[in-house]
Amino acid sequence: MRFFHLPPQIFRLVILIFAIVVSYLVARTLLTPDSFRDTGFYRGAALAEHTEAHQPVFAGKKACGERHPKVIATLTKGGHKTLSCEGCHGVVSQEHLKDPDSKMIKPTEKVCLRCHEASPSRPAWFKQIIVKDHYSEKCIECHLPHEPNEVQ
């Protein structure tokens, strides 16, 4: 290698650069998590962790329907068929699941008015009432929440 002679300064620089590059490669290999780049530029294990870390809170209509099929059947016939049970009755609590006799929230008029109070922003096809012009302030005097098309 007589013809190819690096000056000593350059040679030391090459050693230094080499050392830096090597230490970077080693660090990167050791520090990158195993599942990185599995499905993209992220830690692939995060997907599974996300599912395991969180449990669903709302039970859903199907779960209620398993124990209360008659109510769901009535509901499906009327205008409230798209409603979820937990929208009015609150989240199915752990107590209700353990002790089915413990009742869920009994909705008050506030719950009805939350959707049905008249507002210029609500679409015209949606049934709305102005409370003070309506027959009564107590909704269930005339209405059956599970069969809203029937009026007593």
Binding site: Y42, L47, T51, R114, S119, S121
Partner: protein
Amino acid sequence: MLATFGGVFAGLLALPAARALKKKFRKSPAPNGYDARQHKWLMCIDVDKCIGCGLCADACKSENHVPEAPHFFRTWIERYIIKKPAPDSTAVRGEVEVDSPNGGRGGFPPTLVPRDEILKSFFVPKLCNLCEASPCTQVCPVGATFDTPDGAVLVDPTYCIGCGFCIQACPYGCRFLSPVTKTAEKCTLCYHRITRGLRPACVDICPTQARVFGDLKNPLENDPLQAFVQKNKVNTLKPHLGTNPRVLYANLDKEVR
């Protein structure tokens, strides 16, 4: 001397190459046997059906344990009130007032705009727009937020350093910094629910079915999402920004930002 250096160098370069090869042949751990590559989730919104009851915003807060402090939302509702034009102007529509009191949680209080000044008013639910060219995943310096193979955009809380760059980058304002974990948080399409075969909490609770959710790769019989795209003319939010949002809005007014 140079030869030994070259040898060591090549050997070290081989390490990441070997890892990459090993990865190709290793399957990702699937939660409950759920394979993210077999699904492509999408949520769409029918603006004409939203009655502004705020049940979705409340349900999301309960379902995802979003911090209670008022201004953190993974999904929220905005009310648009388009006023009548001033009597001496030739404009067809007047000013627009937008409000989102507490994100629409608990419903909206009556507006202070007098009834006879209102030309048109409606509610618009908003959420992560599931962009195809999402600016938020592009800017993350550590790779903590990403597009999942099945269409959601998630944040890896163990990786996020809380720099807030993604929060700044999202043009739809759907991200926030959680004061509890000090990491970025956003709508995950209720990932923990959809991987278990349930629907997102906001979709389940919506009383008028204004939120439509479905799997593009496995449409159901009478799939609501397929019916939605067949029946409606759709629009997206801020199309001029080039983010290619996947969330489609039916009956979207041009004043919606």
